[in-house]
Amino acid sequence: MQIAVTIPTILRPLTGDQKQVTAHGRTLAELIDNLEQFYPGIKKRLVAEGKAHSFVNIYVNDDDVRFADNLDTTLRDGDNVTILPAVAGG
């Protein structure tokens, strides 16, 4: 299952400056494990305490996974995953 993953500027140092990469996985958790094999260090930027890290928004197609099944969100061939920095502050 091949999934296109869009990488935000802040994480591009981990992907050799690539804006978009492909990875595999039946769920978002598997996809992130797969990304980690090729781009070590990325997982800890995306996951905290078994959920999507609060510093990032992860979308499957147009849906924020926090409003779906979080890391258990199922992926289908041809899905797009977009990672954006969460823009927030005090």
Binding site: N57, A86, G90
Partner: protein
Amino acid sequence: MLIIHQLLVDAIVRQARTDHPMETCGVVAGPAGSGTPTRLFAMDNAAKSESYFQFGPHQQLKAWREMERNGEEPIVIYHSHTSSNAYPSRADIQYASEPNAHYLIISTDSRYGPSLRCFRICNGRSVEERMKVVSAYRDDAFNRLIDVGAPAAVASV
């Protein structure tokens, strides 16, 4: 140094005043690599808070996709402080995630404001930088791109 058009600053100040006492927030995009802010995306503060702001994830996705389609990037990320001065809070520094962006903070607290200050925030550190508000950019091509509306960002999501 941030050089920003007066019309954009006026729109940000208006938005901050309207949203007060809630924090306001948004992004000003510009052609990628230009460093010149031209197009304002006023965002809703999804946190609806007087002490915190957060871009709504769907609204943000729409805005970022529109920038991508137009060859733009976030040049300025702005928000307001409604009961403190225009200086980055701990959360501002923690969440700053666009290393190339200028972080603009506007205080609408009557004790401090209205005041606008600009910072670079990277790797847990913030450094104030100069800001110059201009009535026209030197390159007229950028003046033609000025857009204080927010076509994608305000659409309901």
